[in-house]
């Protein structure tokens, strides 16, 4: 038996076990999450959202929307945000150097006039603020035009610096919220104002849905291979990634399109690193890092009710870019906070969640890619016999399909957002289709993201003062203008 044979056989068995372990962990998380979702869906009738809405004690929320070149979406989504059911609300749109008509559309729709605004310097900002605008109608909207630094973090930080309310919701312009979404998300803060520092929510795919006035009116599963697969994938991902982990206190990570954070905690961790994407995943990691350092008791809540919808890419190229970016965000977050890994000081986060991400998300991407190659070649050359290949397919793909189907079923018996048989059939189709083709391509995108992170990091590192940046440490960059200047344009 040659060394190649031995390697192929050995790796084949390793990857089979890898998938069995990974999918069993997922199964465990999904079971936890499904249990929780069933309980919470039974509680919706007495959740008291209406009472929060009527309560003058509800903490105000500043919604920060970083945008760049979104002229088609921006008016609808801003309108939708302004009409959210929440007693105290302001919307801050940060136009990060758009080169299209984004700003002008807003100006026409809302009758914006230039105003003065003192923007704090709590969080680091680099891009110059050109001007600040507000509607003449007195609506609670603020539009900040600023110079782009290429990555959204700077825009988010600027928005937070201009925010006046104690809670910050950072949201993308292509995400639609249900009317009571902020009420659901603010509920944990009302009930436990001391320890709750962040809350995340379930996100669904908005493609294919009937959207009116910035609101998803009729949820529908999109057709077409990529969107359908993603619709099923989101069901599973949110059930396990968020709801599952949230069952274990203090382990939750909020990522993606819709989360609510306390502003003082944002300020405590110094906002986003300027060279990052400004994603909630990074923010949550920073929060875990800092608050565990401070030995503070805190809680990150998760709201399993689906209340936000996001447009997913339907074109291959865009999707590839987005997924690679996610992987990069995760890599960067892990790199910035690497001291937390396997560190008992950081409790469950350091010992379980981050190592899990490291092993199964980052290193896992390479393992999975290699596994696909090894199995196809090994089988073709005849080193692996068909029984082993079949076992691999069962452990890796069959098991995963099973998990997605469970997720679809959980949705079905809990929130039941998708009404028609067509939607149900499409979701099942998506659950199966995901594992044959999509998953393998996704593995490749993940690998690319990690590589991007490694390569790009070097470029950024050169400017950073030290090898390991302090979470709250100073960032490179010139000071931005203190008040809104009339420069630019």
């Amino acid at each position: 038996m040659s060394a190649v044979d031995a390697f192929v056989r050995g790796f084949a068995w390793f990857s089979i076990w890898y998938f069995v372990v990974l999918n069993t962990i997922y199964l465990f998380l999904i079971a936890l999450a499904a249990f929780n979702a069933i309980g919470s869906s039974r509680r919706t009738t007495f959740s008291g959202l209406g009472e929060i809405f009527h309560s003058p004690l509800a903490p105000g929320i500043s919604v920060v929307v970083p945008v760049r070149n979104m002229e088609d979406l921006i008016v609808g989504s801003t309108r939708g945000l302004l009409n959210l059911r929440y007693p105290r609300l302001e919307i801050i749109v940060v136009d990060d150097g758009s080169t299209d008509g984004t700003f002008w559309r807003l100006q026409d729709e809302f009758g914006l006039v230039e105003v003065e605004k003192v923007i704090r310097r709590e969080l680091d900002m680099v891009g110059r603020v050109f001007s600040v605008h507000a509607p003449s109608s007195g609506e609670r909207l603020l539009v900040i035009r600023k110079e782009s630094m290429g990555r959204p973090a700077d825009a988010v930080n600027t928005g937070v610096n201009a925010a006046q309310y104690p809670l910050i919701c950072r949201i993308d312009a292509d995400t639609y919220l249900d009317e009571s979404a902020l009420l659901s998300l603010a509920k944990p803060f009302v009930e436990d104002p001391v320890e709750t520092i962040a809350a995340g929510a379930t996100i669904r795919v908005a493609n294919g849905c009937v959207i009116r006035g910035g609101r998803v009116v009729v949820p529908r599963v999109p057709g077409g291979w990529l969107p359908t697969v993603q619709a099923a994938e989101y069901l599973r991902a949110f059930l396990l990634g968020r709801a599952g982990w949230s069952q274990v206190r203090g382990m939750l990570f909020i990522s993606g399109a819709f989360g609510l954070f306390r502003r003082d905690v944002y300020e405590l961790v110094g906002g986003f690193h300027l060279y990052t994407e400004g994603d909630d995943l990074e923010m949550t990691t920073s929060i875990h890092h800092r608050l565990r350092d401070d030995r503070r008791r805190y809680r990150i809540a998760f709201v399993p009710e689906p209340c936000s919808w996001t447009i997913v890419p339907s074109r291959y190229k865009v999707l590839a870019h987005q997924r690679a970016r996610w992987s990069q965000i995760l890599s960067e977050a892990l790199w910035i906070h690497k001291v937390m890994l396997f560190n008992p000081r950081y409790g469950g986060v350091g010992l379980v969640v981050l190592p899990f991400y490291l092993l199964f998300e980052l290193i896992g991407a390479f393992v999975e890619l290699l596994a696909v190659i090894v199995f196809i070649l090994g089988w073709a050359v005849g080193i692996l016999n068909p029984a082993v290949v079949l076992l691999f397919v069962a452990a890796g793909l069959g098991y995963a399909t099973f998990l997605t189907i469970i997720s679809v079923i959980t949705e079905e018996i809990t929130y039941h957002r998708y009404g028609s048989w067509r939607d149900f059939a499409l979701l099942i189709y998506g659950a199966v289709a995901e594992n044959f083709g999509f998953r393998q391509i996704y593995t490749w995108w993940r690998v690319r993201g990690v590589v991007d992170a490694i390569l790009r990091r070097k470029a950024t590192w050169l400017e950073a003062p030290a090898g390991t940046p302090d979470v709250t440490g100073p960032q490179p960059g010139e000071p931005a203008t203190r008040a809104a200047s009339r420069a630019g344009r």
């Binding site: 809405f53 009527h54 309560s55 009409n83 007693p87 006035g213 009116v217």
Partner: protein
Amino acid sequence: MTSVLVVDDDPDVCDLVRYKLEQSGFDVRRASDGDQALREVDAEVPDLVLLDIMMPGMSGLEVLERWRANGATEKLPVIMLTAKAQENDVERGFELGADDYVIKPFSPRELARRVTAVLSRRQSA
């Protein structure tokens, strides 16, 4: 017959208001959102509108603003239906020229009384 348009996204509220007002001798139409309300009024201007403030899509205040900007509906009597503690909305509604407001949860009898009161005030004016 005096006609009233009820605008509320909650069908239960619409049902009840309609029943109560029909018993009091009004001709009642209903709309479940702002767009529909605008269309209903375009089709035929009622004698009075009961307007919910918090609705999906266009809010009641926006609807009211549009009516006030239009000559045909400038003087249309409007009673706001609002949830408790929405003082800002009530204030803004009065600024826009609403005639009265009713707080939800509401008493059907009181609602009918206010409708009559607003209508008679308008007639005598």
